[in-house]
Symmetry: C3
Amino acid sequence: MVVLGCLQSIPSPIPTKESPSSSSSSPSSWSRSLGTRREAIMFGTCFVSSFFSFTPAFPSAIAQQEQDQFQQDEERVVHLFQDTSPSVVFIKDLEIVKSPTSSSNESMLNDNENTKVEGTGSGFIWDKFGHIVTNYHVVAKLATDTSGLQRCKVYLVDAKGNSFSREAKIIGYDPAYDLAVLKVDIEGNELKPVVLGTSRDIRVGQSCFAIGNPYGYENTLTTGVVSGLGREIPSPNGKAIRGAIQTDAAINSGNSGGPLINSYGHVIGVNTATFTRKGTGVSSGVNFAIPIDTVVRTVPYLIVYGTPYSNRY
Amino acid sequence: MVVLGCLQSIPSPIPTKESPSSSSSSPSSWSRSLGTRREAIMFGTCFVSSFFSFTPAFPSAIAQQEQDQFQQDEERVVHLFQDTSPSVVFIKDLEIVKSPTSSSNESMLNDNENTKVEGTGSGFIWDKFGHIVTNYHVVAKLATDTSGLQRCKVYLVDAKGNSFSREAKIIGYDPAYDLAVLKVDIEGNELKPVVLGTSRDIRVGQSCFAIGNPYGYENTLTTGVVSGLGREIPSPNGKAIRGAIQTDAAINSGNSGGPLINSYGHVIGVNTATFTRKGTGVSSGVNFAIPIDTVVRTVPYLIVYGTPYSNRY
Amino acid sequence: MVVLGCLQSIPSPIPTKESPSSSSSSPSSWSRSLGTRREAIMFGTCFVSSFFSFTPAFPSAIAQQEQDQFQQDEERVVHLFQDTSPSVVFIKDLEIVKSPTSSSNESMLNDNENTKVEGTGSGFIWDKFGHIVTNYHVVAKLATDTSGLQRCKVYLVDAKGNSFSREAKIIGYDPAYDLAVLKVDIEGNELKPVVLGTSRDIRVGQSCFAIGNPYGYENTLTTGVVSGLGREIPSPNGKAIRGAIQTDAAINSGNSGGPLINSYGHVIGVNTATFTRKGTGVSSGVNFAIPIDTVVRTVPYLIVYGTPYSNRY
């Protein structure tokens, strides 16, 4: 009844944003569209204020002076997110459902009616050459595709904060560790790779931070502590991934492949699974990440050979 | 399978407190009822202590001296709760199931057998005149009632900490933003309105605090960080509410309409929805609040006109 | 649909560790088994590093110097876990499914094919004599066993960090407070009992820490705040346990009977229930612990008389 669920997000019937890159890059346009209305309503507020002498208090200058230790800790988390989130990407698995009228694959992926979303996940920028690390299970359909209809689109930001999206190719994958490497054409966009930490000296109780796209909500930050170490979680090939990091930071469907980060902003794991009711992908507070040391050992072989070390001949 | 669930609590078959106001106002009576028993048991403990020479250690005076930074941060959260929770109310939707024998509406609502609880939610005190802000979906049955059998009861505390409950009237509502304003007769009780913040300068990673009544458990505090900004969530009229705040603070069924608070104790949003399995209302760690700036623009019109600005003619 | 679920973990079809004590006591053996491989792969990493000039940055010496307040708070939690986790035990309910070929009960419990796991839970070391406190519902089958086939095995560590397991006997239990006391033969192993706090001066908003074995993942730490006080939760005998502590620290199936700890490392409650969908045991963020003052009043009678104070004649 309760199973260890992988965290690829399957499209659901609820309304989600159609274009993640545009929505994250244009909060200002949203603010502007409400500008006129806001002014008009401010007038309304004034009218009401004179009508009711006891209106709710608004934040005073004193509040700005309360910048003590408590807020400094918050600042640390805010900056940690700002520093690390540009290295996290949003991955959409697409299936071509109509015969393309255009001969270009790239144009097919421009959010038109020729594709449907098969699932979503997260990933992170490995290096400046456009290599993206994610879970194997996020791109398993593309990896095992024989129809030629599977595609994978990555939404990312460059080092200057510009959002863009690219179709990605699979460079290599290892189901035994639930890892895959994608590559996107960066075309002059400078990327901001993650800073890698080590999972060797992690201790239960230290703070950790997950960034990813649960249910397609991009660049979501969730926080918690390291709950346990040396866990075993099932891998897509049916064997066990050992040494997994357990955390109570909320990890939900769609978080798969995103980074687990320590308080220095270093990646210590790849968010992979939650222990939950079958099929829901709803975080239980018992969540797992593949330790980064395993990733560091595996990814170079995936980049160079396309397969894990054990299969390199 | 997984849907964005609104967070009104529907009565469940588990045992809940019948009268929230009395239980919160009389913890002392519960302590007293155990007084005699406690003394008797203390004797028992002493007896056992002499029997076993190695009893568990009790907190020493040294513990009281450990008041360092770590505990100061805790103090901040404790005081934040104490300062803000008197502004949070518990809302019960009632339906009259029998013909009242009394002619007074008020007497009908005194927890007698004439009413059944249709759902519960949260709200917060907007001003000293007894205006309460909550989600529209918490009071939708009353708002659209044509039978005359729907009622709404609010449990609140005054500025001196005295608990009381009142039947509330709906002053105005806006399904497009999932907001409603209730009014209770304060009859000389001085209320403590919330302190409003702004949602303009919120940043991902800052701490936030939700106060509400999940599953009817009054004045529940849950904590987390701001997980994302500029989200879209569905409104009761089927359109999207834009600019929603995402948080990993646990928000469950019954939290709807309660405030999301920053570390200064200022309200930055109205807790409204969680992303979860349909029908459960169980928090997934992906939870949403309507930004307070939207509330500040909308509520004055609801108070004065009973409808949003766009419908004021 | 949504019920208050007790948190004993029922075995699920997912792969779990067969022998918790060996896995926790031998992380080094696991490291060793990967030793050779690791060296080989380090070579691989170097090779790739020379191939790609822009490899991801590794943690620098500067990171080690960032030991500021933020990290000091983390250190506190890390040490709190290290100090308190040796007092937390893992409890397995076993049922004998075959006629034992051996005449010794102890040998039957050595993880052989003669037993199947009926459920798992948590507990904590009460004193140096081997008394273990847990929830009654964790060991209810053994407590009410008439077949003679129920067994209970406890996995624990001694004060020197050595893991061992023992069959436990039930010394006493009180369904009204969902408490039970077990006893294990300590045979020269020195135990580390918990440090008891008091639940009298707990305040909403203070930090709290749950240690237990959700879904069998041993020695899991989850963190949160005290969400509410004076709650009522149903007890196994159908009555209400009053004064329960509510927390948003994740508490899942298998956490039952484990300690809830304050930031001084003192036990303030026994994790007992979560408010969730029936049958899932998945944490909702609305979780409950029996207050330690109730435990302190009850346990001595269970140790001496085997029954609560009210039944002592």
